[in-house]
């Protein structure tokens, strides 16, 4: 996976996103490096999902630019990325067919697909479920399938928007393991989560958002030990109390 050329860093300049006069996101400058998984934290409504969708090119900014190693977000860059949503969206077919379908959308030759499918299912711990209708999987298994399907295109960047928020702790751990392995495999992970334990274990650095602004970007150990901004301090404190 080292042969794909550096897709990063991500550089964000003068980014704003407005809807009807309301500024939902305002990020004068932000840089995200290739080196480690990045977690986006912040209270509900901070603009985390918006930022992720902008980075992936699903929506266009009102003003400003987002570049991946110099290239604009979306378009050809977006096609080398994948996104996993909070609720897994699966096709009404078998588990294996869902993965096959993702490979097909990314123009993987038919002859190659079979091997890739079993490797991917193995990776997601879903080999025993290959022939099962995807929508009969448990919530955790469905999310694992959604992640494996996202990995099918061998993405440069894997975006995840609260992938564990509706799962029990043990299912979350399986997801966490899958994400960690994808990161070790060379994909840049950019993820939103409200699970601080998970963030602590996986993150290299934290981008903390509040009211549409980046309050701080800090290496993970430091962030959890000594958050710089008052907003992050308050967020962490409230999480600890809960």
């Amino acid at each position: 996976m080292s042969d794909r050329g550096a897709p990063l860093p991500v550089t964000v300049n003068d980014l704003t996103y407005r809807v009807g006069g309301q500024v939902l996101l305002d990020i004068p400058s932000l840089e995200i490096s290739q080196a480690w998984p990045t977690m986006i934290l912040g209270p509900n409504g901070a603009g985390k999902s918006l930022l992720l969708r902008l980075l992936h090119g699903l929506i266009a900014p009102t003003s400003g630019t987002i570049r991946f190693n110099g290239q604009m977000a979306g378009g050809a860059v977006g096609r080398r990325q994948a996104m996993v949503f909070q609720k897994p969206v699966l096709l009404r077919r078998t588990v294996a067919a869902n993965v096959n379908y993702a490979l097909k959308v990314h123009d993987v030759a038919r002859a190659e697909r079979k091997g890739r499918i079993s490797a991917l299912l193995e990776q997601g711990g879903l080999s025993d479920h290959a022939g099962q209708p995807a929508r009969t999987l448990s919530g955790g298994e469905q999310q694992r399938l959604a992640i494996v399907r996202a990995l099918a295109s061998d993405p440069d960047v894997l975006f995840l928007d609260e992938p564990t928020s509706s799962l029990d702790p043990s299912a979350s751990l399986a997801i966490e393991d899958l994400i960690a392995r994808a990161a070790r495999g060379g994909a840049k992970v950019i993820m939103i989560t409200h699970d601080l334990g998970l963030a602590q274990r996986l993150a290299g650095d934290i981008v903390f958002l509040h009211h549409g602004r980046v309050c701080e970007q800090t290496r993970a150990p430091e962030f959890f030990a000594h958050p710089k901004s008052h907003e992050a301090q308050a967020y962490l404190a409230s999480k600890l109390v809960l």
Binding site: R53, L58, M83
Partner: protein, 261 residues
């Protein structure tokens, strides 16, 4: 069996090749009302065609496409889908009926356009219907993966490099073509039924999107043959009889099929 009955059945069978897969998308995307809006616009298309002495096929195609595009633009801007489409559907129909009354010199058989006239299908019509239906089916098969992904979740599609707006456009184009083709068979008022009813029946039996589309084709064909046959036997209007046959198949699917999801 009489020639005209055979031609009628063949016309219905041909049309089903297009309405089956397209109807599946109409059901999945809950765009039943969208289909109605485009279909009702066909009457306005007839008036335009008569006024400018163009072929009715071209006139309905152009107007159906225009209304389809208008509807998808308006609803994409976040206006209430139900209301917008309701306004569009009924005003297009009413405007069409008013406009036709202005076209001088031609005594128009409105019933034929509203309820279809499948028993008058000639060999030329048949070629057109089969040709058009095959074009629509080919279009849908070509875009199948992209259409399916965009239908499932627009974000997921965009993430995979598929432009959901373009896929919506493909469906609008297919819808306009189907409406133009089926005007003569089931008429403007019942086109929507031909799209939805067989696909809804198929949903009760299908386990994958592909089998649902194929079953919808099969049910459409069955309804066409059954409807034409029944109309010959009982001397009932053919277009509505086809829809009644499809509705019976739907009833059977409610009893015999699984509950779906």
């Amino acid at each position: 069996m009489d020639d005209f009955l055979i031609r009628a059945a063949l016309a219905g069978i041909g049309l089903s090749i297009a309405t089956g897969p397209l109807g599946a998308f109409v059901v999945w995307r809950r765009m039943a009302y969208f289909g109605d809006a485009v279909a009702h616009a066909a009457i306005l298309g007839v008036a335009v065609a008569l006024a400018f002495s163009m072929s009715v096929l071209i006139g309905t195609l152009v107007v159906a496409l225009g209304v389809g595009l208008a509807a998808s633009t308006l609803t994409a801007r976040g206006r209430s889908m139900d209301t917008t489409l309701g306004v569009l559907a009924h005003s297009a129909l009413a405007l069409g009926l008013v406009a036709i009354s202005f076209v001088r010199g031609v005594r128009v058989d409105l019933n034929g356009f509203l309820f279809g006239d499948i028993l008058t299908v000639n060999a030329g019509n048949l070629v057109m219907i089969w040709g058009g239906a095959l074009v629509v089916a080919a279009l849908l098969i070509w875009r199948w993966s992209a259409l399916l992904t965009a239908t499932l979740n627009e974000d997921l599609a965009a993430s995979a490099g598929i432009d959901p707006r373009r896929e919506r456009l493909v469906l609008t184009l297919a819808m306009a073509l189907v409406v133009a083709l089926s005007l003569k068979i089931v008429g403007a008022l019942l086109i929507g039924a031909m799209l939805i009813v067989p696909a809804a029946a198929a949903r009760g039996f299908a386990r994958t999107p592909e089998t649902m589309a194929l079953l919808a084709v099969g049910f459409g064909m069955l309804a066409a043959v059954g409807g034409v046959w029944a109309s010959a036997l009982a001397d009932t209007p053919a277009g509505p009889s086809i829809v009644v046959a499809a509705a019976l198949i739907y009833l059977v699917s409610l009893v015999a099929g699984h509950s779906g999801d």
